[in-house]
């Protein structure tokens, strides 16, 4: 039995860990029935077990192990973003495989403060281990299914900032245009695992599930803590307390961590083989969607920093953009995939965030943003947000480059199309703002591609009678 004083100290340490303004923190083997995140982190990545509906016990276990490998691999690639939490949840042994506890629709509301779980309140009454308002979450889950000797893995992801829309505002010529991302939930293409891959997962799991004294698989170590203590009594909510750790540094495939010893309550250090891949093959080569998850984490991290006016992590823009592009490149076989479009929009937003401050040196970023958004629009030509993101980014890039907007007939038609396809009044505002910008601009050359001021005035009048159905 853990002595009361040690237990109290341990619980305090864990609560500090959960709420601290940490750089990077991580926790594994969290019981789905007590979902948690690192409340102090700007963005949390939470990986639920990959579920397998069948009765093959080997595959059922693989689901938990794969989720740990995914979490650690992603973590090792997002450390540079800083203020990151990573959590892996699973079904404890003996829990019914059909339990709903690990379903995203059950876990997500709890992480957003929808139900108490094992959260504890800070002085302001806000739970410490739920996502804070404005902070980001990437929730990852998946399916395993068997097809002959092959196993297919399908990953899903949902991302958000709590109580915050993923709105992008474009400003040019005294006007602004707003649109949201086309989707915040993505189903990735199933990826094939061979039986050999499954054995490699077991091998990698055995390596990754240890905290070692040195960055060496033969170095002595302890297994990653499971449910390590239970707070019982006054002031406790009778829920399990989990062990988490800070990431101190990364060395190749290894991360050095600091954690609280579950028995003695003292601070300890160790190494985790986080990104060993599968027999030398990086896990994100087999599951390219991990690149999407990494880049998406970077996107959220940058948006949180932008909204809170805190410094951007150095190199984060380029890293996030590279990760998203790497995903799109590796997903070439699915050119019409929604995931490709969303990745393009995330990359476009990142480029726009870099390019939007004044300065001619930023124009290249704006042009890249316009290109990213246009590629997404081609995949989703029916989506009003995809249309507006493409048009808005083109308007800004042209305005900054040439001081005017071109192909205004086409842009007007595109924004008009978006109004019909949208149920948001913002679509109508966007077109009004576009016309206002044109009326403030010099008269364009008299060519078919450009709206004259007289034509714009006529369109403004016509627009006055238009309403967007709710």
């Amino acid at each position: 039995m853990i002595p009361v004083s040690v237990r109290a100290g341990f619980v305090t340490s864990i609560l500090l860990l959960l709420s601290a303004s940490l750089a990077q923190a991580d926790i594994s083997h969290v019981d789905c029935r007590s979902p948690m995140v690192f409340g102090g982190a700007a963005v949390n990545v939470v990986v639920l077990p990959y579920t397998y509906a069948g009765s093959d016990q080997e595959l059922a276990g693989i689901g938990n192990r794969l989720s740990l490998l995914v979490k650690l691999d992603v973590l090792s690639h997002i450390l540079d973003y800083g203020s990151i939490g990573a959590v892996q949840m699973e079904m404890p042994p003996g829990m019914r495989a059909q339990s709903r506890s690990c379903l995203p629709e059950v876990v997500l509301p709890a992480l957003l403060g929808g139900r108490p779980g094992n959260s504890s309140a800070d002085g302001n009454g806000e739970s410490q281990n739920v996502i804070r308002v404005g902070h980001g979450l990437v929730l990852v889950w998946g399916l395993l299914y068997q097809e002959g000797d092959d196993i297919f893995v399908q990953t899903y992801a949902q991302f958000l900032r709590r109580d915050t829309e993923e709105t992008i505002t474009f400003s040019a010529g005294g006007s602004s245009f707003q649109a949201n991302l086309s989707s915040k939930r993505v189903a990735f293409a199933p990826q094939k695992f061979t039986r050999t891959n499954l054995e490699q997962i077991e091998d990698s799991y055995r390596k990754a599930n240890y905290v070692r004294e040195k960055p060496d698989d033969t170095s002595p170590g302890d297994e990653l803590p499971m449910l390590v203590a239970k707070c019982v009594g006054y002031g406790c909510d009778n829920s399990p307390i989990h062990a988490g750790f800070y990431v101190e540094e990364k060395q190749g495939e290894w991360i050095r961590i600091q954690y609280i010893d579950s028995v003695g309550g003292q601070r300890k250090e160790g190494w985790i083989h986080a990104a060993s891949g599968l027999s030398g093959t990086p896990l994100d080569k087999i599951l390219p969607e991990l690149k999407f998850i990494e880049g998406c984490t970077g996107y959220l991290r940058l948006r949180v920093a932008d909204a809170e006016h805190t410094p951007q992590p150095a190199g984060a823009y380029a890293l996030a953009h590279d990760q998203l592009n790497a995903f799109v490149y590796s997903n070439e076989s699915q050119p019409t995939d929604m995931a490709n479009a969303v990745a393009g929009q995330l990359a476009g937003t990142i480029n726009y965030l870099v390019g939007s401050p004044a300065g001619r040196d930023r124009i290249d970023w704006l042009l890249k943003a316009a290109d990213d958004f246009e590629r997404a629009r081609r995949i989703l030509p029916y989506d009003p947000n995809a249309i507006t993101l493409a048009v808005g980014s083109q308007v800004v890039a042209e305005w900054r480059q040439k001081g005017r907007c071109e192909q205004t007939v086409k842009k007007s038609e595109q924004l008009s199309t978006a109004i019909g396809l949208s149920s948001s009044p913002a679509a109508l505002t966007n077109l009004n703002n576009f016309y206002a910008m044109l009326l403030r601009s010099p008269e364009p050359p008299p060519i078919a591609e450009e709206l004259t001021k007289a034509a714009v005035t006529q369109r403004v009048a016509a627009l006055k009678g238009v309403t967007v159905p709710q």
Partner: protein, 256 residues
């Protein structure tokens, strides 16, 4: 009763398309969905996946059945988004496409069901089987709107054909159109048209020639419906579709 059976050796395996019009013949009634969901929401029913012939499956076969069911459920959930609620219908299972008679279609329509999907494993060892789906709102415009696709390897077909989710916005759009919500129908019809295009053409095409032919006919009807929906929507004062311009032949088409 009409029966179409077609085989072809596409990448997804042999496919059989069976389409039966209803004829009022006596048959066992479909059991109700165990979880039909809220009355106001559009729904997609995912029925049981069974072994053909009604034999009792072994544990490993049962696992395969559950996997197919789970796969259908999750991918339809992902593709339907907020447009429709995907329901696990438990033991509900159409033994015969003719189970979908006018009464059944009417009942499903009243429940706001837009799509119903089920499956059968013919040869559990090989994994061959059939996938059935009924496009409820399409029954009145392209009857019978019940399709059964056969494959040498059902899971493989599902993996390549996860585009079955592309039918979700299409049928939701048809339903909205039939309910005269023209403005609400257009975005869904356009989304369905765009998403189904790669499903019905090229290397990744889903189903065999006869199936594709039927789907192309449906798509033609949907394009006409989109044009009609825009024209109807424009009759409403203040309609944003008054801002849309027709193409050179006077029809309205989805953005490209």
């Amino acid at each position: 009763m009409f029966l179409y059976m077609v085989h072809s050796a596409r990448s997804i395996g042999y496919a059989t398309v069976v389409m039966l019009a209803t004829c009022g013949m006596a048959r066992a009634q479909l059991t109700n969905c165990r979880d039909p969901g809220p009355p106001e929401a559009f729904k997609i029913f995912v029925d049981e996946v069974r072994v053909s012939g009604g034999s009792v499956p072994t544990a490993s076969v049962q696992a395969k059945l559950q996997t197919i069911h789970k796969f259908l459920y999750e991918n339809l959930r992902a593709s339907s988004g907020d447009n429709a609620s995907v329901r696990d219908c438990g033991k509900r299972y159409p033994n015969d496409p003719a189970d979908f008679d006018s009464t059944e279609f009417g009942g499903l329509d009243n429940l706001r069901v837009v799509l119903e999907v089920w499956g059968a494993l013919d040869n559990p060892t090989k994994g061959s089987g059939t996938l059935g789906f009924a496009l409820i709102p399409a029954h009145s415009i392209a009857p019978p709107a019940v399709f059964i696709i056969s494959s040498d390897n059902l899971l493989n077909s599902l993996r390549q054909g996860r585009q079955i989710g592309a039918f979700a916005p299409l049928v939701s759009g048809i339903s909205q159109y039939q309910n005269r919500n023209y403005a609400g129908a257009i975005p869904l019809l356009c989304a369905g048209t765009q998403q189904l295009t790669p499903v019905l053409s090229g290397q990744a095409a889903f189903g065999d020639a006869a199936f594709l032919s039927r789907q192309q006919a449906l798509m033609k009807r949907v394009r006409e419906m989109t044009d009609a929906a825009v024209k109807e929507a424009r009759k409403t004062q203040g309609s944003p579709f008054s801002l849309w311009s027709p193409s050179s032949d006077g029809t309205f088409v989805c953005p490209k």
